[in-house]
Amino acid sequence: MAHAAQVGLQDATSPIMEELITFHDHALMIIFLICFLVLYALFLTLTTKLTNTNISDAQEMETVWTILPAIILVLIALPSLRILYMTDEVNDPSLTIKSIGHQWYWTYEYTDYGGLIFNSYMLPPLFLEPGGLRLLDVDNRVVLPIEAPIRMMITSQDVLHSWAVPTLGLKTDAIPGRLNQTTFTATRPGVYYGQCSEICGANHSFMPIVLELIPLKIFEMGPVFTL
């Protein structure tokens, strides 16, 4: 989960998120260098003694400052498109979970093996256990195996919601009347948090998502089906 005042990305828990972090670092370095150049140009503008305002015909400079940004954009776009198509790959998921957004809770359906359906409500602060996370902990977590491709089918029963888990690099809109699909493979066990990411009413900030990722061996023993 994010710590207080965190502005950077969370650590990756899926290969896609690792790629996204790599791309983010790449884009940020380019942005830093452009900002540095612009600051230097600003400094030069403020400290120059040249005052001629009738300059024209700077063909070479105009060519350079047209072609260079185009090259920079290509350098950013190519890795971006690579990751975009990577996120759309569907690699034979082992498990399919349905996630349905409501005002203001999530319903999860494990229909592959038996018919487990449950609601996931945020725990009110009064009901939190000591050490529990305010506005993040829920009564029923989504328990999933690691190192297995998982398909999430996301929809909504009323208004727009969005199912997001930053550490997995996931954010998919829950749209009434439409079924959206996202797939992921988690690489390490743990408890991971997300929050609804599409404004959906008064309690939009109070319908979190909590994934409990456990080793496949333990998942197969059936802890998720003992509700």
Binding site: H3, A4, A5, Q6, G8, T22, D25, H26, L28, M29, I31, F32, L33, C35, F36, L37, L39, Y40, L44
Partner: protein, 118 residues
Amino acid sequence: MAAPPEPGEPEERKSLKLLGFLDVENTPCARHSILYGSLGSVVAGFGHFLFTSEIRRSCDVGVGGFILVTLGCWFHCRYNYAKQRIQERIAREEIKKKILYEGTHLDPERKHNGSSSN
């Protein structure tokens, strides 16, 4: 203001953010690229000044040198970092396969020895 590290966990280095957003300490290859870029900038700028004695133009050359050297080091380092990550992933998968399948008919070493003896 990161959470305190668990016992046994490596401590996260204090973040130093250039221009307020580029976290040099925690971004792989960033510190290395910026340092080499700074060195390149000083060498290029100072070298130009020694030859021409023009201060403003030497500063321009220095800035240009910084950008080019930083970019060059950055791409070189990130390419090697990506290659290393792929090799680590392959090694991890092979170790896992070895542990899971050692002694069985799916043992990769047995398959490899079988094909080399044929």
